[in-house]
């Protein structure tokens, strides 16, 4: 069977229609944790599940659900088209209806099959198609959802199933049982016949009863031995576990420490991010001034202008005032010439003296008498009038100049604002002009913290993976157990010791009993029977005995041969998968309960007890390829292998070699992996070295990890 196409519609994170086409070689599906890798498997498992008929609304895409209006419906569909003696399709689907706001119900689930015939596409029963082409057995050996699933013989029944399906001789169990019965019956017949022979009857009787007793004890002892050995095995296992876990719990403790450190780092980053409240910074850090520079310039220009203007006006005013004072002096000089009147020379009498002289009718300057009515008297009066006029005129001229003593400006607001302008300028101006880049720097810093936080959170996810892997490798050991103390170890040693001692005792006892049994048998055989018939019955019994043993041996050999051929094939694949690297040898070792374990050995024959992650994966995969070969041989048709490969199983150098080899193996493989991702980016250079086709599944951007309805997986064909 070759898978041609898988399409997934609205199944969990696969919102809308998503489609994968597959070649007959390898197809890689690359995705990170949480991108939808596991969901891919679960979609297939859902598709192949023929037992559950009721639809589960949990499988419906949250995103699609959140979009449905009342009355609207949409479907969940998973379908696979494949070639199995003709093109066929199986499709499982159900419909979801939003019947009230916020309430949804799933409608009847359908399981359809289709066959492409010449006449077109004919429908057939879906379930029957699955059972025919891809039954539970095949699914078990073809789909491996998790890393631990790869160790296929972890399930002891698995080998039985394989043998039953594929070995040549699967009915051995039945024949062994039959021939055992034949031996028993023929023995009874022989003994009975012997007892009827008078010659030997008594001895036969006594020997036989002893023989029966010995056989009873023997089977008891053998049963007890089996239980004791199982017990010892169990304790051995527990000790091994604990010892492995000592390693594991050391690793575990270490990773817990690393996780704690990372979480502290994350907290630190979160704190740094939270400390930057961009709204508050507008005020507290005055980021609001980032647009201020032009306003500041306006302000400075205005202040400067006013300041200049005021100074200019002031200067003008002072100049004017100075001019006025100069004018006054000049005026004085001018007024002497203008009205013609002249000041009396300093040595001449002033107004008071002149009035006195007029009154006294005598010029006290020259001494001449000036009686009333005389010319001298008239001259003195005219002179006095002139003097008064002159004095008046002078007084007039001097009046406006009194006012020039007041200042032009009584306030200093212009200076105040100009000072502020100078203050905000100069060195302080950078406080404003630098704001924009200060903001930019802070935003960059916060973005860097956010990026670092993202990185740290991704590291934490990887570490959680690692922690999970450590737990898985501890195979069924829970976290509490890893934390447990090692008191248990001593207890297990004791128990194991006791069981082993007991086993030795029993083995000895069994040897003794077997010796007794054989002795009695010989005794019986040695009896010479009287009746010929007795001899016949004995021979018949002997024959059945040998025949039974031959069947037992053949069954055993069959299993061994099956394992050997499987082992050979597996080693073939191992060599190819490892290309030029060291590969060691896979051995399939039988265990007590007719199952097997897969172990790796080096070429000198010693076991590699702790193979690396990549060695383990290639080891398991080579066994799975070998098993798959058997199906091809047996059923004359192939089936695909679908793996979830462990991450960083391979050193980078090995990747493209490894995948290209798989692509060239004549087998269809689908591998879902985290390889080729560097953070969230594809390593296209390495991907381009691959010969196979490659898909990328990824959570679409813009999701809120706390809100499922924002999460969707996108599917992109990369190569």
């Amino acid at each position: 069977m070759i898978i041609k196409n898988i399409s997934i519609r609205n199944f969990r994170s696969y919102y809308g229609d998503n489609s994968f086409d597959f070649s007959s070689g390898l197809t890689l599906i690359i995705g990170d944790n949480g991108d939808g890798k596991t969901t891919f498997f679960e979609a297939l498992q859902w598709l192949f599940n023929v037992t559950v008929d009721t639809p589960n609304i949990e499988n419906f895409s949250e995103m699609r659900k959140s979009q449905l209006e009342v009355g609207e419906m949409d479907s969940v569909v998973v379908a696979m088209t494949f070639d199995h003696n003709g093109i066929k399709t199986i499709e499982k689907k159900f419909i979801v209806e939003c019947y009230e706001k916020g309430r949804y119900r799933p409608l009847r689930q359908e399981f359809m099959g289709y066959e492409d015939k010449d006449s077109g596409r004919t429908p057939i029963d879906g379930k029957a198609l699955v059972l025919r082409c891809f039954d539970a057995f095949l699914q078990k050996f073809s789909m491996f959802k998790g890393e631990s699933d790869l160790n296929v013989f972890n399930d002891p029944a698995a080998l039985q199933q394989l043998v039953a399906k594929f070995s040549d001789l699967k009915e051995f169990d039945k024949y062994v049982a039959y021939t055992e019965e034949f031996e028993r019956k023929s023995n009874s017949a022989f003994i009975k016949e012997s007892k009827s022979d008078e010659k030997i009857a008594k001895q036969v009787e006594s020997l036989d009863s002893k023989l029966i007793e010995v056989k009873r004890l023997l089977s008891h002892a053998e049963r007890e031995l089996t239980e004791t050995e199982a017990s010892a095995q169990l304790f051995s296992g527990k000790i091994e576990d604990l010892e492995k876990h000592k390693d594991t719990s050391e690793k575990y403790a270490e990773i817990k420490k690393r996780i704690e450190a990372k979480q502290a780092e994350a907290t630190k980053y979160r704190g740094s991010i939270a400390a930057n409240n961009f709204n508050i910074n507008l005020l507290d850090k005055m980021w609001i001034l980032c647009v201020f520079p032009s306003v500041l310039k306006e302000f400075q220009a205005k202040c400067s202008a006013f300041s200049k203007n005021k100074r200019a006006q002031n200067e003008q005013f002072i100049k004017e005032r100075a001019k006025h004072e100069g004018k006054k002096e000049a005026y004085d000089e001018i007024t002497q010439l203008v009205n013609g009147a002249s000041r009396l020379p300093w040595y001449l009498p002033g107004e008071a003296e002149m009035e006195e002289m007029i009154h006294d009718h005598i010029c006290k300057v020259c001494g001449r008498e000036a009686p009333e009515g005389s010319e001298a008297y008239r001259f003195m009066c005219e002179k006095l009038e002139e003097h008064k006029r002159h004095a008046l005129a002078e007084a007039e001229a001097s009046k406006p100049e009194d006012q020039e003593q007041k200042e032009l400006f009584e306030n200093e607001y212009v200076e105040e604002i100009h000072n502020l302008s100078l203050n905000l300028g100069g060195f302080n101006e950078t406080e404003v002009t630098g704001k924009a880049s200060e903001i930019g720097g802070c935003i960059d810093l916060v973005n860097m913290f956010k990026r670092k936080l993202d990185e740290v959170e991704r590291d934490l996810e990887d570490m959680a993976d690692e922690k999970a892997r450590i737990l898985i490798q501890a195979e069924g050991v829970s976290e509490e157990m890893l934390d447990k103390s090692f008191q248990d170890l001593k207890g297990y040693f004791d128990q194991k010791g006791k069981a082993e001692k007991r086993a030795l005792e029993l083995e000895q006892k069994i040897r003794d009993l077997k010796g007794q049994r054989d002795y009695y048998k010989e005794q019986i055989d040695a009896l010479a029977p009287g009746k010929g018939q007795v001899r016949v019955y004995k021979k018949v019994h002997d024959a059945f005995d040998y025949i039974n043993k031959a069947f037992v041996g053949a069954k055993d050999k069959n299993l061994t041969m099956f394992l050997e051929s499987l082992e050979d094939r597996a080693n073939d694949y191992l060599m190819r998968l490892n290309a030029n690297d060291f590969h060691g040898i896979v051995k399939l070792i039988r265990t007590a309960n007719d199952s097997a374990v897969i172990k790796l050995y080096s070429s000198n024959g010693s076991e590699i007890k702790k193979p690396s992650g990549s060695q383990q994966t290639t080891m398991y995969m080579s066994v799975l390829f070998a098993i798959s070969d058997l199906t091809t041989l047996k059923r004359e048709e192939d089936y695909p292998l679908i793996f979830d490969a462990a991450t960083s199983s391979f050193g980078d150098a090995k990747e493209d070699d490894f995948y290209n080899i798989i692509d060239n193996i004549n087998k269809q493989c689908i591998i879902v992996t985290k390889d080729f991702l560097n953070r969230s980016e594809l390593r296209m250079a390495d991907i381009n070295k691959l010969t196979c086709s490659v898909y990328r599944i990824q959570k679409a951007e813009g999701y809120d990890k706390n809100d499922l309805s924002t999460i969707r997986t996108t599917v992109v064909k990369v190569k």
């Binding site: 024949y175 034949f182 040998y546």
Partner: protein
């Protein structure tokens, strides 16, 4: 191995048992074909062939025993 049926393979696997071969006194080339073994003169070979053949045809344990037991009693 081509052309061998499951029965042939089973027959061969059983008859190649050393102890049985010594007891029965037959040689390896008598072990290759179930059909031939069913008409073999050697009663052990014949008996094993019958067990396998009747078993595959769905006979019960007691039926097979009855037949093979009688056969051996008469021919051994």
């Amino acid at each position: 191995m081509a052309g061998k049926s499951v029965g042939d393979k089973m027959l061969q696997a059983v008859l190649m048992d050393e102890k049985l071969m010594v007891f029965g006194g037959y040689s390896p080339d008598e072990c290759t074909s179930l059909v031939r073994a069913l008409s073999s003169d050697n009663c052990i070979v014949n008996a094993v062939a019958r067990i396998i053949d009747r078993g595959r045809s769905g006979a019960s344990e007691s039926e097979v025993y009855r037949e093979v037991n009688e056969f051996l009693k008469s021919n051994i």
